[in-house]
Structures are given as structure tokens and as C-alpha cells.
């Protein structure tokens, strides 16, 4: 009997495990880039895997150049390395970037054991860049969030995708207040790019004296035509701010007290908690502490604690919320309200409504009786 129970429990665990049933795929590396050359033949190596070694992975190719691509393997059990061979034609008419998608998908023929199931697939790329006739360039620009007192790191990549040499002049401008106020300008050294050449720079711009807040960075790349790329970034301060909180509570009950906070720093801040003190016209009544939470950079999170209103009157009180994080504290003084419980409120409404109804009925009966009496008197006369 005992053995049957244990076997039953074991089977139950397997069934629940099957329902949860994780599954996934991956591919590495995810990206190659190649400039077009007539009749180019080249091999690219990828690795694909299923997160479950006993399951299969199917490999596929998509894109407008898929016909010029062959795979060394189209299926793996568990995972493995495969070669993608491209044999490009003599000419590709359309200039620009042509994406060859290399995909790996879980090899599942049917979903079993449930109504619906997830099938994961992942796609890497081989970009074939066909030069534009004449002058042409494309750029990318990124800039990082930072903390107050730091210099912001940016990355610019400019590619000459045309058939002529280009002189590139790049300027970075930093604005605040939605591009209405320029606060910084940096001019990069002028460079000369030959066809197919890529210029890539990772540098910093001196933002050390800028105050915390949201900023816009504009990269202006002049290669004969002007490209403008806009990015936003934030300068954080070591501050955790209270952005919302509960302020209405029910009498004679243990209420949840939620405080929504935001990490304004570009680094994680751990072990944040709040202490809440309740007072009534300066007289201390109660205090309680929330659980502590960890926050990622810029993350908004909820602190929860419990406020027991047993024995407190239904009226307005004052609460002081003190946030503790690192060696810093910040606080907020708020008004909170303890209200009647819904049951009591409804009971009062019912009593009042009953009294009004009875009054109306009594008045109505009185009037009816009065009319009857008047008619009787009138008949007697």
C-alpha cells in the first residue's frame, strides 16, 4: 500500500513536470557581415543547440538570397556545429543590405499532453552589403546611461557603402528639455573612408558637470549628405524616490500598505526598505516596516507592509514614510484616511433608506385616511 502511494506520488511529479516542460534553442554567433563581390564563395560557421540534449534542432535559411545558400546540416540531435556556404551570383541589382536569415527551431512535430505548446526558434543573420553606385554611407550611434559625475560612453559606426571615397565629418550634440537647450557639442576628427571601409569609434563625451535628468544626444554625420541619429540617455543620481502609495484603509482590519518606489541611479541598489510611522495630530500611534527589495538601474518596484487599523477611529491621520537605501534615507509626509468598512456603510444606508421609506408610507396612509374622513364628512352634510 505504502509502495503504491509512493509510486502514485512519483507519477504525479512526472505528470506535473511534463506540463511545465521547458524547451529552447540557441545559435552562436548571431551575426556575420560581408561585402558583395561577384561570384563570392565563402563559408560561415555557426553552432546551434537545443536546451534539452535529447531533443532535435532543425536548421533553415530565409531571405532573398536563400537560393545561393547551402547548409552542411539541416538537423541535429541536441546540437552541433554547421557550415553555411554562400555562392553569390555575378551581380545583385538592388544595392544595400541583403539579409540571409539562418534559423534554428525546436524539432517538434506535434504538441502532446496539452492544448497548446510553445515552439522556440532563434534566427541569426549574414548581411550581404551591395555597394550603392556613387556616394553612400550608413551609420549607427548609441550612447549609454550614466550616473552623475561620469562621462557618457558613445559608439559610432560609419560604413562607406558606395563606390567612391568619402570625407566624413561627425559632430555630437547633447540637448536637454526635448531638444530645446543644447548643453554640449563635440566635433570628431575628419576621416576619409574608401569604399567598403567601416569606421568605428567608442569614446566618451564629457558629461561630468551635467545634472541628473533625461538628455537627448544627436549624432550628425556629414558625408556629402547629412545623416542625423537621435538617442536618449539618462544621468542618474543616487536616489530612490517614492512615486505612489496607498492612502485609503478600512477600519478594524489588517490592510496592505503598498509603496511604489523608483531607483533613479544607473546602478542597482539593494536592500531598500521603508519604515512608516502613523501619527494623529502629533501623537504617535503605530509604526511598521516593509520587506526589503533589490532594484535594478531605473527600476520601479513595490514595497509592501501591513497596517492594522484595529481600535483607530475613521478619520484623517498623518503617515511619515522613511525610505532606507545604502547609507541614505529619503522621506515623505502624507495624509492617510481610515474609512468605515463597506458593511457598516451599507448598514447605515439601509437604515436611512428604511426610515425614509416608512416615513413616506406613513404620510401616504395618513393622507388616504384624511381623504376618506373628509369624504365621509361631506356625505353626512
Amino acid at each position: 500500500m505504502k509502495r503504491n502511494i509512493i509510486l502514485g506520488l512519483f507519477l504525479l511529479v512526472i505528470i506535473f513536470a511534463e506540463i511545465i516542460s521547458a524547451g529552447g534553442v540557441g545559435i552562436s554567433p548571431v551575426y556575420y557581415k560581408e561585402f558583395f563581390e561577384p561570384n563570392l564563395e565563402k563559408n560561415f560557421t555557426f553552432n546551434a543547440f537545443n536546451t534539452k540534449a535529447e531533443e532535435g534542432v532543425n536548421i533553415y535559411v530565409k531571405g532573398d538570397l536563400a537560393d545561393y545558400v547551402t547548409l552542411s546540416n539541416a538537423y541535429f540531435l541536441g546540437g552541433g556545429e554547421f557550415i553555411v556556404t554562400i555562392k553569390l551570383p555575378t551581380k545583385i541589382e538592388k544595392p544595400g543590405t541583403h539579409e540571409i536569415i539562418i534559423g534554428a527551431i525546436e524539432a517538434k512535430s506535434e504538441i502532446e499532453g496539452a492544448t497548446l505548446g510553445g515552439i522556440a526558434a532563434i534566427q541569426g543573420r549574414i548581411d550581404i552589403l551591395v555597394p550603392y553606385p556613387g556616394k553612400y554611407s550608413e551609420s549607427t550611434f548609441t550612447i549609454n546611461n550614466i550616473n552623475e559625475g561620469e562621462s557618457a560612453t558613445y559608439e559610432i559606426e560609419t560604413e562607406n557603402l558606395g563606390s567612391q571615397y568619402l570625407d566624413i565629418k561627425t559632430t555630437i550634440e547633447v540637448y536637454k528639455n526635448n531638444m530645446s537647450e543644447k548643453v554640449l557639442t563635440k566635433k570628431l576628427k575628419e576621416i576619409n573612408l574608401k569604399p567598403k571601409e567601416i569606421f568605428s569609434v567608442i569614446e566618451t563625451i564629457d558629461t561630468r558637470n551635467l545634472p541628473p535628468g533625461d538628455y537627448q544626444a544627436l549624432a550628425i554625420i556629414d558625408w556629402g549628405q547629412i545623416d542625423k541619429i537621435n538617442q536618449t540617455f539618462r544621468i542618474g543620481e543616487f536616489l530612490v524616490e517614492i512615486i505612489d502609495y496607498d492612502y485609503q484603509f478600512e477600519e478594524n482590519k489588517i490592510n496592505e500598505f503598498n509603496i511604489e518606489i523608483q531607483n533613479k541611479w544607473n546602478t542597482k541598489i539593494d536592500k531598500i526598505f521603508a519604515t512608516v510611522s502613523i501619527t494623529d495630530e502629533g501623537r504617535f500611534l503605530n509604526s511598521f516596516k516593509t520587506v526589503s527589495v533589490d532594484t535594478a538601474p531605473w527600476e520601479t518596484k513595490n514595497l509592501t507592509s501591513y497596517f492594522d487599523t484595529t481600535g483607530l477611529e475613521t478619520k484623517r491621520y498623518t503617515a511619515n514614510i522613511v525610505l532606507n537605501y545604502g547609507e541614505e534615507i529619503s522621506s515623505k509626509l502624507i495624509a492617510i484616511y481610515i474609512n468605515e468598512s463597506p458593511k457598516e456603510r451599507y448598514a447605515k444606508y439601509i437604515i436611512i433608506a428604511t426610515i425614509i421609506a416608512l416615513s413616506i408610507i406613513a404620510t401616504f396612509i395618513y393622507l388616504i385616511l384624511k381623504i376618506i374622513k373628509l369624504r365621509k364628512n361631506a356625505k353626512k352634510k
Binding site: I20, V30, T51, I111, A121, I122
Partner: protein, 196 residues
Amino acid sequence: MKLDNTEIISYISIAVIIISLFFIGAEITGYAVTENETAIVNVTISTSAALEFTTALLDFGSGYVNAGQAGATINSDGTVTDGTWAVQNGELVLDNIGNINLSLTLSTNKTVADFIDGLNPTFKAKVSDTAGNTGACTGTQTFSSYAEVNQTLQTACGKLAFGGDFDEIDINFELYIPNDAEGAKTIGIIAIGTTL
């Protein structure tokens, strides 16, 4: 005093050694001399894109449309209308377990008609950040509320972030089952992550 060639060479050699030592800065102390040495190690971490369904199956069980109703609506948020299916609170959970941000599309491996059958069935999906993963799914979000999901690729997240607490999403589903639908069917939800 006359020096022979051997002595001259010896004296010159000693002078060269002393001058060299002076410039090199070696000290003869009788103790072992150690200095902090630094070397630069370059490590290149290959980008790797990977997606995993940490919860890959969702079962609504069996049931039927209530008598007199044109169809029943059930979803994995715990709603059952006009049907006898048990309330289902669950979802598929998808995790970006690689080291690169991805764009994410959702589609199905069969048509809604092949899945649910009957007159005008519908099948919808809703994508949200898993609790504690605020900001995982950003950009274009076709499924921010329940929207039809079918064999056409539709963007679920313009960017599905990677790493730490921002890389997981929940996918809920809603079905409208007409009263003339029959049989037990299954459907696959294909989630494709593409490198940005």
C-alpha cells in the same frame, strides 16, 4: 703600466655592464626582487542568441458550450464564459537566455479553423512582462492586450531584453469555441527571436 688586449677588453666589458645596469635599474641587493607585473588578457565573448520556454505547455482540459449559447470564451487568465471548462490560471513563459537583445514574433503552426473548428472560432494571445521582469518586452507590442494570433508572423516585442531581471515574458491565450466545434485539438505557438 701596459695593458694587454685581454685586459683592455675585460675592463671595457665591465664598464659596459655597469653602464647597462645603471640604465636598466637593476639593484644587487642579495634579496629576490619582485615587481608587480600586469598583463592584458583579451577575452572576446561570442554573441549567443537563445530562447527558452520555461513553461512550454498549457492545457485547457475538456468541456462543452452551455446549451443555448452560440459559443464559449475561455482564457488562461481565469475566465470561462458560457462553457463548462474548468477555470485555467496559467501561461506560457518565455525567457531570453542568450546574451543579446532580440526582436520577437509569434505565430501558430496551424490555422485557427484547423485548431478549434466550428463557425467563426477565434484564438488570441496576450504578452506581458513576467512579474519581476519589468521592461523585458518593449518597442512594438502587437499583443499588449488580447489580439488574434495566426500563421502570420506578428511582432510581440520590438525588443526582448536579455540578462537578469528583464528577460522573461508571459503569454496568455483566449479562445472562442463555437457550439459546433468538436474534438480534442492542439496547436503550437512559434516564438521566433531574431538578432537586432
